[in-house]
């Protein structure tokens, strides 16, 4: 399964992501009259998809390769988003409706007099980048250390991750927490002095996201393909066996878990920049479940599948919510059911099957893949 089809093609798909993003960005800078011109709407849309794809890669890392079904990964995504959102909020400066140079609008209106301590340094992009990785990393580390050490696994772990993101959602909904309550952070103006609403910034951000996604994909592939990756598979399939070989599976899982959380957080940061809003709704357990579904649709344990699943499902959602605003949930629900029933290995598995069928007619392919399921 690891040597599967979506996995081997990671570098190719990664390149493709960058190339497509590059074309779209260039196209969006062309005048409308040009036949190759791309609507700016598509640029922000694809930017959002890529951020989601990053989250999907993160989910795939822990679910596909370490066997941890997470129902709470959107929490790390959202935390990364908030860390970036804090920086973008500070960048607004005096351009908020109250014109307060120090306090974001929502604090002014709650009659806060000064910034709470955890906003310290949030006006520096470097601090933002550090926070994007550090906060979800530490939370994931703490959570994972406790959970894996005491061998919480299977559905127990899934439900606990769900409880985690649910608790965070409730916390962030509170206005008293200092992150804007239900409204979250929004109405951003600049990033590093560049106007977020300008087409050039948008196009650049898209290419930047694509590059980061491609890098993440290749990095993830590297992580799971070496000897560490083999151990990861071993832990996924027979965790207790690895213990008797002298390995500590909790360490292995913890490492992947934290890395995955950071990838999700990076996705969240890119998301906020391109979508322009972050609020507690991102912590909703439904979002985490959806991210798992993207991976399942694309194909678990293939990295490529995660990216393709995330983009396709979200693209479908965009289309259906516009075409069939009253019936699109039927389509989406049916998609999930049909995928699990008929494509247990996702779209990548479908590709795999097609290839195998083709391989049967082409004699030079000697290697036969064993069936992972016994």
């Amino acid at each position: 399964m690891t040597a599967g089809f979506g996995f081997r093609n990671v570098p190719r798909i990664a390149c493709m992501v960058v190339i497509v993003a590059g074309f779209l960005s260039l196209g969006s800078l062309l005048p409308d009259s040009n036949p190759l011109s791309v609507s700016p709407f598509i640029v922000t849309l694809v930017g959002k998809y890529l951020a989601y794809a990053m989250l999907a890669v993160a989910v795939d890392l822990v679910w596909g390769f370490a066997g941890i079904l997470t129902l709470g990964h959107a929490a790390f995504f959202a935390l990364g988003g908030y860390a970036m959102g804090m920086y973008l909020t500070r960048e607004i400066g005096t351009r908020g409706v109250y014109g307060n140079p120090d306090l974001p609008d929502f604090m002014v209106f709650l009659s806060w007099k000064s910034l709470p301590w955890y906003w310290w340094g949030s006006n520096h992009i470097l601090m933002a980048i550090v926070l994007v990785f550090l906060v979800p990393g530490i939370l994931a580390g703490l959570f994972g250390w406790l959970a894996f050490r005491s061998r919480v696994s299977g559905v127990y772990l899934s439900i606990v991750t769900q409880a985690l993101t649910y608790a965070l959602m409730l916390a962030f909904f509170q206005n008293g927490l200092g992150f804007g309550g239900n409204n979250g952070l929004t109405d951003f103006k600049d990033i590093l002095g560049f106007d977020l609403h300008s087409q050039t910034t948008r196009a650049t951000m898209l290419v930047f996201s694509a590059l980061l996604l491609a890098g993440t994909m290749i990095g993830a592939r590297w992580l799971v393909s070496g000897r560490f990756g083999r151990l990861l598979i071993a832990v996924r399939d027979a965790e207790s066996r690895t213990r008797f070989l002298g390995y500590r599976p909790e360490q292995v899982k913890l490492l992947v878990w934290v890395v995955s959380a950071m990838i999700a957080a990076l996705g969240g940061a890119l998301y906020v920049i391109q979508v322009g809003i972050i609020n507690p709704g991102e912590f909703a357990p439904a979002n985490s479940i959806e991210s798992v579904i993207w991976v399942a649709v694309g194909g678990r344990g293939t990295i490529c599948g995660a990216v393709i699943g995330a983009v396709l499902v979200n693209f479908g959602k965009t289309l259906l919510t516009a075409w069939l605003p009253e019936a699109w949930l039927y389509g989406l629900g049916l998609l999930f059911i049909l995928t699990t029933l008929f494509l247990p290995e996702g779209l990548m598995g479908l590709g795999h099957q097609v290839m195998r069928r083709r391989a049967e007619v082409t004699p030079e392919v000697t290697q036969t893949e064993g069936d992972a399921e016994s």
């Binding site: 190719r12 609507s39 309550g181």
Partner: protein, 443 residues
């Protein structure tokens, strides 16, 4: 790249993205054919049809479809038919952003009617300002906002909350001297309560006689809160509850009130988010006498309202569908926009925005809604008591329409702010003391 095992060929991918772009350009579903000839004018409908907000917003989508239908039967706008583009932002705030952008950039709609929650409005605000769109927002809200691209057709706090408190303080409302402010923890209740606390203080109510409590969204277990209200009411002073509980959570709240036997004659509850639509899901017998403050009630007997209700029943083919305040707000907003387009003879956003201020539209319940320079409107305020048939009986109303204050004089930070989108000020948050526009101003 000749490897036969490649998952998707580059050509396929290109085709896919082309299909994507094409699909984008086609845009959203268009609703019902139009009678008048000429190039149709598209208007966007941005209301959640699924998810948690569908319960409130689906009706508003139907209202706009009805208004479009009626307008087209009257010959459209300036001889051109209207066409509603309906999308579903699925109660997901970032999806509102995406859909707003789609409506403005891809469907190129002349105006958008949409949003319910404050957060959805805040989410789309930057998009409307960036792409210079027009949004008609139909729901009562917390104020403290004044965007050039938004027309606020719902009540500002001074058009709902303050008159409601006045009523409770007065003899007809029971001369309440103790207030429990119960709300859902989000920006509308927070702001409204902040304003009300300042107002109550000014009216001589001691801090100890005001209790503030916030509950999470979708709270379904109100036992503790209701018993706290009962205990709070046992201090020997007439007590009233001011509820800013968000739509969904109201049903279990009222069910608990009824179960614990709190009658409106003992501790009246004044709600700002409970309308006919919410009551439709409840058995209102235990709630008779509980109060709500709105700018419209279905029960108000005027010819215009009767006609509107009839049209609504005909359109929905259901004589049971109720009407409510945000529906009237859409009615007003839609007609104001039609007026503006007909007056300017164009759908050009800048011209329409400029033409809006000063336009007048009769309310369904009598009186006139006038668009103010701060893009809010004048509104009458009604206080209704819940009846056992699920309707409200108006027990008090303002003698004339009240102009909206976008910025509350009871919040220290906004005491001096005013919004005026006419030249030469042309600013949503103009500081009258400093004589300066805070934040960005429209060129």
């Amino acid at each position: 790249m000749t490897d036969p095992t490649m998952c998707v060929s580059r050509r396929d991918f290109a085709r896919f993205s082309l299909a994507a772009s094409a699909a984008m350009l086609v845009g959203g579903k268009t609703a019902r054919a139009a009678a008048p000839t000429g190039e149709p004018i598209r208007i966007g409908v941005l209301h959640s049809l699924s998810g948690t907000m569908a319960i409130s917003e689906t009706t508003l989508k139907d209202v706009i479809l009805m208004l479009v239908d009626l307008q087209n039967k009257k010959g459209g706008v300036g001889g051109r038919p209207l066409e509603a583009v309906v999308v579903d932002p699925a109660s997901n705030w970032p999806l509102y952003t995406e859909k707003a952008r789609q409506l403005l950039a891809v469907d190129k709609v002349a105006a958008v009617f949409g949003c319910w929650t404050s957060v959805s409005r805040k989410a789309v605000l930057p998009v409307f300002e960036e792409l210079n769109g027009i949004l008609f927002y139909p729901v009562q809200y917390e104020g403290q906002e004044c965007s050039r691209n938004v027309f606020y057709m719902g009540a500002a706090p001074n058009q709902q909350a303050i008159p409601a408190v006045d009523y409770l303080l007065g003899e007809d409302g029971g001369s309440a001297r103790r207030f429990a402010l119960i709300g859902t923890d989000y920006v509308y209740p927070r702001t409204t309560n902040q304003i009300l606390q300042a107002y109550l203080k000014q009216k001589g109510i001691a801090d100890a006689d005001v209790m503030v409590s916030y509950m999470p969204f979708g709270q379904s277990d109100w036992q503790t809160t209701v018993s706290q209200i009962k205990a709070f009411g046992s201090a020997g002073k007439k007590t009233a509850v001011i509820s800013t509980i968000n739509g969904d959570a109201n049903v279990p709240f009222y069910k608990e009130l009824g179960a614990q036997g709190i009658a409106a004659t003992d501790i009246p509850v004044m709600a700002f988010s409970v309308g006919e639509e919410e009551l439709a899901g409840m058995d209102t017998k235990p709630l008779v006498g509980q109060l709500a403050a709105w700018n419209y009630f279905e029960s108000i007997d005027t010819p215009a309202n009767k006609a509107f209700i009839n049209a609504w029943h005909t359109f929905t083919k259901s004589p049971k569908r109720v009407t409510n305040d945000p529906m009237e707000a859409h009615y007003i907003g839609f007609n104001l926009w039609v007026q503006a387009v007909e007056k300017t003879g164009t759908t050009d956003h800048d011209k329409v925005i400029a033409a809006m201020v000063g336009l007048k539209q009769p309310n369904l319940t009598g009186g006139i809604a006038e668009v103010l320079p701060n893009h809010h409107i004048t509104k009458p305020v009604y206080i209704g008591e819940i009846q056992d048939d699920g309707q409200f009986n108006v027990v008090w109303q303002t003698p004339q329409e009240i102009p909206a204050q976008a910025w509350s004089p009871y919040v220290p930070e906004t005491r001096n702010l005013t919004g005026d989108w006419r030249a030469p000020i042309s600013c949503g948050n103009y500081d009258t003391a400093k004589k300066a526009c805070l934040g960005t101003r429209h060129a």
